[in-house]
């Protein structure tokens, strides 16, 4: 087995985020079905429309979610009928639309190719195991782009970023951990851009190609344009490896070059055994070589590249206009977005509220845990302060903390709503400050 392939098989992209087409569609169907079941259950259990204040609804809902899940509300059957849900295909179309939006936005901001592609792949990966009906794509879009900047070492200041998109920092940060969970914490996306450069180097080192460098340059530029768009809009990243995608794009740009490179790579002919080191004599080495660079695997690779090429040609860079075409958006996308707004998940749609609720839950859980503890309140207080002190707590901070802990003390007896809001405000701010432990506790 080729060492390069073995190393690729170790990557998280191969282990976690590579699927056969049937697996991928099955996964999307499953996600869609699960989201339908969840959302209809929640809609039925809610007497109020989903658009009311999340604090009130979520509190009611979260107080007894399990009992509702097991026994459907008898009144629920009489409430207005469930909205029409998106089909998996419709979901896919919408994800495609938002992916094109990400590419457009990052292009406008002149981000590097890797950041663009990573952001797009983050969004696509996230919406494989999460339905677009559960979490709002228009919000996750910003989160994915922001997080991709972090991952691909193109860090953007949060304040600047929010200024560009006219968003609040809270909105961006609220979805960040959610995104990480959805990505299964596999942040490394392997792109074909550097691979294209490698292929060009290899081709340029061939004797007869040295005279034709202009052709190479043109082919590289064209292939790069393909790579910047086509594999991201299709599912190529899930079905093919970066090198295969790169060769497919190269063959779209200049078929002869791609074939030449493959011929040069898989050159081994077992009869002659002329190539390579002197140990061509023993049969085992030959066999191994034939398996790695023989003609059989060459045909297979050619087949895979042909498949990838077909897939890429469905979304050639020329299709960029398609996603911007007003007519197309009006006829295809807008109806879907309207439909989506009707069938969205009432609990999950507002990411900021969702995060607050989750934090409240976590805090409550911590409270009840502490009640059982031997140390009681003192122990908790000590622990809190310790957490904050990881980055050196300042005086204002500790004052806030004291306030919080005092208020929490009143909590078991049912604090007033207003006070609770206040508590959230203080608490969220505090946890953002000491951006550690907060996530762990909340989720």
């Amino acid at each position: 087995m080729a060492t390069e392939d073995a190393r690729y098989r170790d990557s998280s992209q191969y282990r976690l985020w590579s699927f056969s087409p049937t697996q991928l569609s099955a996964l999307r169907d499953k996600t869609n079905a699960a989201a339908r079941a969840r959302i209809s259950e929640r809609l039925l259990s809610h007497p109020l429309p989903a658009s009311t204040t999340a604090a009130a609804t979520s509190k009611q809902d979260l107080s007894a979610p399990t009992s509702h899940a097991n026994t459907p509300d008898p009144d629920g059957n009489s409430t207005p009928a469930l909205p029409e849900f998106l089909t998996p295909a419709e979901e896919l179309t919408l994800v495609g639309y938002y992916t094109s939006e990400i590419l457009r936005a990052s292009e406008a901001l002149h981000y590097a190719d890797e950041i663009k592609a990573t952001a797009a792949m983050f969004l696509k990966r996230f919406y494989i195991t999460n339905s677009i009906m559960t979490y709002p794509p228009a919000e996750m879009f910003f989160v994915a782009l922001f997080f991709a900047c972090k991952v691909d070492t193109g860090h953007v200041n949060l304040a600047e970023y929010t200024k560009i998109f006219n968003k609040s920092a809270e909105e961006i940060l609220a979805g960040e951990f959610l995104l990480c969970q959805g990505l299964r914490f596999a942040f490394d996306v392997k792109h074909p851009y550097r691979a294209l450069r490698g292929a060009m180097m290899e081709l340029a080192s061939l004797e007869d190609m040295k005279r034709d460098l202009k052709r190479l340059d043109e082919a590289e530029a064209k292939a790069r344009r393909v790579l910047q768009f086509s594999p991201l809009m299709t599912d190529a990243y899930f079905h093919y490896t970066p090198s295969q995608i790169m060769l497919a794009a190269l063959s779209l740009a200049d078929r002869g070059l791609a074939e030449r490179l493959i011929q040069e790579t898989f050159h081994f002919v077992p009869m002659e055994g002329n190539e390579g080191d002197g140990g061509g004599g023993d049969g085992k080495g030959n066999e191994e070589k034939a398996r790695v660079i023989g003609s059989q695997i060459r045909d297979k690779v050619l087949g895979a590249i042909e498949g990838c090429r077909d897939m890429l040609s469905r979304e050639l860079p020329e299709r960029k206009e398609h996603w911007l075409n007003k007519q197309v958006i009006k006829t295809q996308i807008t109806p879907l977005r309207k439909k989506l707004l009707k069938c969205k998940d009432p609990e999950r749609w507002n990411l900021v509220e969702l995060q607050k609720v989750r934090r409240e839950q976590a805090a409550k859980k911590m409270d009840s845990d502490d009640e059982d503890d031997f140390g009681g309140r003192d122990g908790k207080k000590a622990k809190k302060e310790e957490d904050g002190d990881i980055f050196g707590g300042d005086l204002g901070h500790s004052a806030k903390k004291r306030k919080v802990s005092v208020k929490k003390e009143e909590d078991p007896f049912g604090g007033a709503m207003v006070k609770k809001e206040d508590l959230f405000g203080v608490k969220v701010k505090k946890e953002e400050d000491s951006s550690f432990g907060g996530f762990g506790g909340a989720l």
């Binding site: 060492t3 282990r15 697996q23 490698g198 790579t265």
Partner: protein, 382 residues
Amino acid sequence: MPPPRPPTSAPRPGGVTAAPSTTSDGLPTRDADDMCPVCKTIRYLNRDMEFLVNPECYHSMCTACVNRLFDDGPKQCPYAGCRRTLRRKGFRAPFFGDLSVEREVDIRRRVSQVFNQVEDDFQTLRDYNNYLQMVEDLTFDLVHGDEATRHKAESQLSAWEAEHRTEIERNRRAGREQDEQSRKRLAAEAAAARQRRLDAIREAEEEKLEKIKIKEMEIDSLERGQPLPDSQRVQLKRRGNKAVEAVANLAANSSAAAAAMATADTVGKLSIRGLKEKKREPRPEGPYDPFGGLDLTPSRYKIHGGLSHPNVDKYRSDKGHVTGGYSFDEYTSRAMFEAFAGLGVFIEDEKEVGVGLVASEVVGMGAALAAVGGDGVKMELD
């Protein structure tokens, strides 16, 4: 000139003293050497005067007195105040001039005969040291203690002796055997050394004879008018001809041994017996492999100097890149790796059935995928 020193304890010139001066032990001092304290005979009158002591009380007296007093049988010590009964048999010539030393040596000998354990009898070194300390304390009491402590120590010693008679006997025998052995070994070594010396002498003798012979031959040949061949002449001048020969033999042997490995051990090598077998030299390990045997050599491409790209070349002379020590080979090798990594990975096949893979690998991967995938979906839809 240094100031005159106080008189040292050097033996005084043989003067006549009225009474024998005694030490605090009640033993006679050294200057009693010159006059018998019993019959007051002085050495001046009797050149061959010899003093004897009895280990009962270590009071010295001259041979004449001993013979005179104790020939008839046991009698009291003639010293004033000493009530011990002495026998003729008990008298001997003291080994040390200082009788207190003589006495101490005797006591120590006796104690060591009773307390004759060796280090091997103890479990730890600390135990052995404690034992030695105890013995020394007892000895000190016996030698320097006053009457009461001496008596007490004496009774302790005899009690111990009575109690551990068999053990003491056994140890003594073991010690004797060991002595015997070491004596034998020493004797053997001495014999071997003597033999070697004799051999060396004989060899030297032979060499001398040969030299003479060759010299005669040379003279003969000169007489006849035909000088000796050079090789022989040179040999004459050398000393230790035999030794040279032996070394030459040895070298020849060892070179032969290199050719024939089987006989190497028996021929032409010194052999020393009885040495502990040395641990074999550990095989030198290769250089440390940080990847634990992971093979990183590419199988589909070769990294060579010709790999470059116009977009990279322009940075090769860029100070911002070069000064920091950036290696362009790194860029090249990574780009090449990414261009060919996973080229033979067919995701559709491998994720479904695993065609072109080892079966066990596929099962493992599939199971892992299923497990992870299942959990992942559940996790997301909490």
